[in-house]
Amino acid sequence: MRRPHDRRQALIRSLLVEQLAVARGGRGLFEDLSFGLDAGQAVVLTGPNGSGKTSLLRVIAGMIRPAAGQVRFVGADGDLETEAARGAGLHLLGHQDGLKTTRTAWEELSFAVRWTGGSDASALAAMEALQIARLKDLEVRMLSAGQRRRLALARLVASPRSLWLLDEPLAPLDSAQRARFGELMAEHLAHGGMVLAAVHDPLPIPARGVELTA
């Protein structure tokens, strides 16, 4: 049986977005956006195409510099140093799965999980949980879009990181797999994790909504 990470020891206990403004290519996407996310909570970002959902996730992950405002990560003893929190406390799954097509599923997962602080045992358990263990030795190019996405989701499940930033995580998944990942997200939240997801379809877990308007 899978043993999830105990995220009560998690580095990041809450995320605070304060008066954030983001501009891309000289065009303002949104401004004065503030919300918080505490351990055990999920927030879905909604908004039309181009409203800045992906950009917001990348600002929180530190890849885009905001035009104004700030992102704070709070740990057990107050505010965390931002770079350290990003390097050890959060995980991002973007539009792309970030998988090398010429390597096997296991090689890709094992590296990614160890890189973000997990172990081979947790990687294997996550493959079982997402029902892709039998694909372990196949090259990624042999996998379908849904199977690749499940492999990418296994990275999140297997890494000891409390804040998940997800960009359309469910898009290529069928309904059974959406429900399965819903259970894994619920388990993550129950152990003190946090989920911030940009979605068009509703997430299969209870979540607050934050709407971005174009």
Partner: protein
């Protein structure tokens, strides 16, 4: 620990499907084969240009695998993942270049004295040629990585990398070629080798900062 995990991945990627190092070695041998056809096959004229042209061909062969060094991770989103790891991006870039050196630079360095010898350079030059190619390869890998990171996201990146990087390859080609030529002429070869080592070490020390900045810029 994490550095070792990343280094193993980079080496596996370099040696994996596509065979980058073998391709570079084949390219190197191919260029060495063309040279006698262009310069004339007489041993006397070849022996004069052999060490220098073997060295210039080495610089060109080092360019080949650069296109895939960062571009591959950038295209499939893996670079996002690398920025979220426990190591600073500067160190990630340095490890990628180090792997590049181990996977491609080292085989080319083994090949360099053989190519030079085959072109007619005296046997006594082989150890120094190997040493220069090995040390110079480190500089090629790091300055090459700089070019590769600057070209991220551009179309025809490979060509752009060559245009950025070739001028930066001038100093090691001068120092390395100079050291070998000095030995062939019976002069002191140590200063050339020292300067070559200094160039490579400076590249190792300075280029990771620029590579990380270029990667951040490409990701934002």
């Amino acid at each position: 620990m994490s550095a070792g995990v990343l280094l193993r991945r980079e080496l596996a990627l370099a040696w994996g499907r596509g065979g980058g190092p073998l391709l570079a070695c084949a390219f190197y041998t191919g260029m060495a084969m063309l040279l006698p056809l262009a310069a004339g096959p007489s041993p006397q004229s070849l022996a004069v240009v052999a060490p220098g042209s073997a060295w210039a061909a080495l610089a060109l062969a080092s360019l080949l695998p650069l296109e895939r060094l960062f571009e591959r991770d950038f295209e499939d989103g893996a670079l996002d993942l690398l920025t979220l790891g426990p190591l600073p991006l500067e160190l990630v870039c340095a490890i990628k270049c180090l792997a590049q050196w181990l996977a491609t630079g080292a085989p080319l360095a083994v090949l360099a004295p053989l190519v030079s010898f085959a072109l007619g350079a005296p046997f006594s030059l082989m150890p120094l040629t190997f040493l220069c190619a090995l040390i110079g390869g480190l500089g090629f890998a790091f300055t090459g990585g700089l070019g590769a990171s600057l070209a991220l996201g551009s179309r025809r990146g490979g060509l752009l990398i060559a245009v950025i990087v070739l001028p930066l390859f001038a100093p090691p080609v001068i120092f390395g070629g100079g050291a070998v030529a000095a030995m062939a002429g019976g002069l002191g070869w140590a200063p050339g080798l020292m300067l070559l080592a200094a160039y490579s070490l400076a590249a190792v020390a300075l280029s990771p900062v620029a590579m990380a900045a270029a990667c951040r810029n490409a990701l934002s």
